[in-house]
Every structure is written in structure tokens, then in C-alpha cells.
């Protein structure tokens, strides 16, 4: 079993396509939608984590591309403004999946994108307003 995070961009005419249905029915994948911004007639975006057979994921990506949906590996949507950040570490206190951590010893801030579920708890709590979500 493989797991991959995909960043889907829907052109306006495709924004209402039932993508999750096809991922499940046609490719036997388990989609976990982490974030979505879809409105009829507008360009949409969906950040989805899919679990399934590696070949099925590859086939699903090809299918999505044929449908006119552009697929990119999930980008670093959480952006840290390092000039503004004072490395207080408060964001690590609200990061339930453990994506934001302080390195042992140096107390430097580390961000593990793979663990992030884009809940935005860090965005809300950062006293320096140094964390933003670009999607």
C-alpha cells in the first residue's frame, strides 16, 4: 500500500466533477480530503491524500490529467515567515499531528509537511502571525 498527497487544480468547467467517487470506485483508493475550495464556475483546488496500490495511484493521476485536472505533488502550503518568527515554539503546543516540533537541544523549529493536516491551529495561535496557509 502506498500513500500520496495530491494537490488538484480544477479548471472552472470541471469544478463540479465527482472526483472522490472515481478515486474510490474506479481505482480502489481511499481518499482523505484535507482541504478543498470548490465553487461552481470557478477554478477549484483540492488537497487530497490517497491510499492504495502504487499502480492504482499512478493510474488515477493519469485519469485526473485526462479529465483536465492538473495534479501536482502537495506543495508546502504552510508558509513560515522566518523573518517574523521568533522561534517561541507556541505553534508546537497546538500541532496535534506533530508536524511542527522543536529540535532537541537547539530548540530550532522543524516542519514535517507529511504530517501536516492543514488544520490551521498554528496559523491562529502564532503570536507573530508568521504562519500562513497559501491555499
Amino acid at each position: 500500500m502506498a500513500r500520496r498527497r495530491l494537490d488538484l487544480t480544477f479548471p472552472p468547467r470541471q469544478a463540479t466533477k465527482p472526483v472522490a467517487y472515481h478515486l474510490v470506485k474506479d481505482f480502489d483508493l481511499t481518499p482523505n480530503i484535507l482541504r478543498a475550495q470548490i465553487q461552481p464556475g470557478q477554478q477549484g483546488r483540492m488537497l487530497v491524500e490517497v491510499t492504495g496500490k502504487r499502480e492504482s495511484i499512478d493510474a488515477a493521476v493519469e485519469f485526473l490529467a485526462r479529465e483536465g485536472i492538473s495534479v501536482a505533488p502537495a506543495a508546502a502550503d504552510i508558509v513560515l515567515d522566518t523573518d517574523a518568527c521568533v522561534v517561541c515554539g507556541l505553534c508546537t503546543a497546538v500541532c496535534k499531528p506533530g508536524a511542527l516540533t522543536l529540535e532537541e537541544g537547539t530548540a530550532a523549529l522543524r516542519f514535517d509537511k507529511d504530517k501536516c493536516v492543514y488544520c490551521e491551529a498554528c496559523v491562529v495561535c502564532c503570536p507573530r502571525r508568521a504562519v500562513s496557509l497559501t491555499f
Binding site: V87, C88, G89, L90, A93
Partner: protein, 390 residues
């Protein structure tokens, strides 16, 4: 073998002083013993960088022509005090903007001034024979001001609470977002690097002590507000809960954005991260004992912020080493932790202070007056009374 302030200052002036940070001192003491460390090292530097709400700046704008006696004053829409002389003001760090609320406050104005930005000054006045102008709308930079100095009534808290939340909803506090059902614990101290935890009974830190304030050389001006030396202490005399505090003063024009950073705590308000560092002379083995303490030796008390009263229930003590490990145990539960005081910045402050002393001959000043000592005073509560009850 005791050393005097004069001996230590003479060594600093001659460029011969051995100056180390508090973390380095603990290592030296562990390696070569306390006696040898106390003999070899002359000065230990400390540092802390956390949100310190009781901070702000006195500013003097100079006089316009015709002049104005400023009453209502705003800087970038943030109200500043009009209760001083005509063109003097005090801008408090936590004051929210009239238009942006807590997303921009007094601390942000100070940070913008430090960044060299022009700030919009608006004021109204009554119009008097000597100050006929009634309104002013102009822009000022830090360079334009005659005087600008930080005067922070309460900084460098000696130890602080560890906050948890037993309630069933998230709480938005000055200690950050506290997740329900003991979902997290936040803490705010530089621990073993913290100035007053290294000199727990205020032997060397007092009124007149030279110190590092937001990147500028400054002084301890007075005891800080809510200075409470009567807190519970451990066997080394180190308080285990919020205790002593310092009021500090320094030239804002010499301060730096690196060590003064505005903060907004969601659904709470504005604050300012302030960097404070105080050098401590290694006078004798007695002070060396507390200088050598590490995060594993210093305790903080866990308080339940889910109980919204002045006295919150204490749920035990943990060490700063446990807090920094990422998880503490509170009443049998494993609770993930997160700091609010920046350890990398605290280390940087201790390192900068070390450089000032060892390379620039920055000497120490003996206190002109001691801070109130343990056994002398406690923090008094505010009781709600009616006029008849007085």
C-alpha cells in the same frame, strides 16, 4: 575564595575576565566541580525572550509651530497616554489599535519605529494661550523623536506558571491556545538561562544593575510590578512559581527589532516579546550553586486555567527539563508541551551580553539598592468594595 565587584570589574576593564553563559557555567561546574568553576569564572550571563505585557515607551515629540498640548494622542491609530506634559507620552505595548484591534497595538508601533518606519501621529488639544494649536496630523520616525526610552514596569518574571486546561472548550489566553481536556500545556520561562532564576534571592541583581534590554544597554530601574519574593521556594531558594520581577529602562534608539517583537495572542490581546539579560558576578561559591543549576533542577507549578478564578488550582510541579522534553505528566495523564519563551533567542541574548563584557569591556554595576527580599512583601489581591465598606 570570594571575589569583589571591584576585582571583577578591573578584570573586565583589562580584558582578562572569564565570562560564560549560564548554560556554559553549568557544564564547567559539572566537569571541574563547583569550587573550581566559581574560582575560574568571573561573570555569568543570562537571557530571556518572552512576551512581557507590562512594557512600553516614553516618547517626546518636540513642539510644532504653533505648539499643541496633546490630549488625545494616537500613533498609527493606537492610543497613547495624554496624561503627561504637552508633547510627552507613554505608549503601552498592549494598547490595541482603534481600527485594527488586537492585530496591531502599541508593541507593533514600537516595532515599526525600531524598523525605521514613519508612524502617523495624530493628536488633539484644548487650545490654550501657550499651546494654541488644537489638532495635529503628521508623521514621525524614531530619529525624529527627542527622547524615546523603553520603561517596562514588569519584565523578566522569575519563573512562571505552566498552563493546562481541564475544561471542555479551548481557551485563548496570554499563554496561548489551551486545548480542552488537558490537550496541551504551555510554559513561559527561559528556565536555567533566566536572569532571576540564576540569582534567586536577588544578591547581585537590584536597582541600578546594568542589563540588556531589547538589544540596548539598560538598567534595572526598580522592583517590577507584582514583585513577590514570598513565593514557595526549593532547597536552593529558587521559586517554584511566578515570583520576582524587574522594572527596566533603556534607550529605544539603541534597541533592536531582533530583541523586541510585537505579539498578538488570538482572542486575548497584544503583547511584546522583550529580550532581557542580566550579567551576574561569580562572587563566591554560594552564588555559583544557583548559577550551575540546569533545567533538570528548576521546577515550575502546573495551574489549571480551566478554572477561571484568581487562584487557579495547582496540579503539581514539573522540571523545565521535563517541559522541554515535549511531554509532562499531569495527574496521571501524558500532556504534550509547548513553550512561549524563545530558547534560541535567550541563548543569543546571553551570548551577546557575554561579548559586550568580554570584548567591549562592559563592566557590571553593583546594585544601588536591593530588591525587596524574601520575607518582606507579597502580592496583594484587589478586593471589590463599596464606598460604605471603606
Amino acid at each position: 575564595m570570594a571575589k569583589s565587584w571591584e576585582e571583577i570589574n578591573a578584570r573586565i576593564a583589562a580584558g582578562e575576565a572569564v565570562v560564560v553563559t549560564s548554560e556554559e557555567f553549568a557544564e564547567i561546574a559539572a566537569d571541574s566541580g563547583l569550587k573550581s568553576a566559581a574560582k575560574r569564572v568571573d561573570v555569568v550571563t543570562t537571557g530571556t525572550f518572552g512576551p512581557m505585557c507590562s512594557s512600553g515607551a516614553f516618547l517626546n515629540f518636540g513642539h510644532s509651530d504653533p505648539p499643541i498640548k496633546m490630549g488625545e494622542i494616537t500613533l498609527n491609530d493606537v492610543p497613547a497616554s495624554g496624561g503627561l506634559a504637552a508633547v510627552d507620552t507613554y505608549l503601552g505595548a498592549t494598547e490595541p489599535s482603534k481600527t485594527k484591534g488586537i492585530e496591531y497595538g502599541g508593541a507593533h508601533v514600537i516595532e515599526d519605529l525600531l524598523a525605521g518606519k514613519a508612524v502617523r501621529l495624530k493628536a488633539t488639544g484644548p487650545g490654550t494661550d501657550c499651546y494654541p494649536r488644537t489638532e495635529i496630523d503628521t508623521w514621525v520616525t524614531l530619529d525624529d523623536l527627542n527622547q524615546a526610552y523603553l520603561f517596562n514596569p514588569r519584565n523578566a518574571y522569575q519563573n512562571y506558571a505552566v498552563a493546562v486546561n481541564s475544561s471542555d472548550r479551548a481557551l485563548y489566553t496570554y499563554l496561548g491556545t489551551l486545548l480542552p481536556h488537558f490537550g496541551n500545556a504551555t510554559y513561559c520561562s527561559a528556565g536555567a538561562l533566566s536572569p532571576l532564576l540564576n540569582d534567586p534571592t536577588y544578591r547581585t541583581i537590584g536597582v541600578g544593575s546594568r542589563c540588556f534590554v531589547a538589544g540596548a544597554p539598560g538598567f534595572v530601574a526598580w522592583q517590577g510590578t507584582q514583585h513577590n519574593p514570598n513565593q514557595a521556594r526549593d532547597e536552593h531558594g529558587v521559586p517554584v512559581a511566578p515570583s520576582g520581577t524587574l522594572a527596566v529602562i533603556a534607550d529605544l534608539k539603541e534597541a533592536s527589532r531582533e530583541f523586541f517583537s510585537a505579539a498578538t495572542f488570538t482572542k486575548y490581546g497584544v503583547s511584546a516579546f522583550v529580550g532581557i539579560g542580566v550579567p551576574i558576578p561569580v562572587l563566591d561559591e554560594e552564588i555559583a550553586v544557583t548559577l550551575a543549576l540546569t533545567d533538570a533542577d528548576i521546577h515550575a507549578t502546573v495551574f489549571d486555567y480551566g478554572v477561571q478564578r484568581r487562584s487557579r488550582p495547582a496540579l503539581g510541579r514539573v522540571t523545565y527539563a521535563e517541559l522541554r522534553s515535549g511531554t509532562i505528566e499531569v495527574e496521571g495523564r501524558k500532556v504534550p508541551t509547548g513553550p512561549i519563551s524563545s530558547l534560541p533567542k535567550a541563548r543569543r541574548i546571553a551570548a551577546v551580553l557575554k561579548e559586550w563584557i568580554s570584548e567591549r569591556g562592559w563592566t557590571l554595576s553593583q546594585p544601588l539598592m536591593p530588591l525587596p527580599q524574601p520575607g518582606t512583601q507579597s502580592t496583594k489581591p484587589l478586593e471589590i468594595r463599596t464606598e460604605e465598606a471603606i
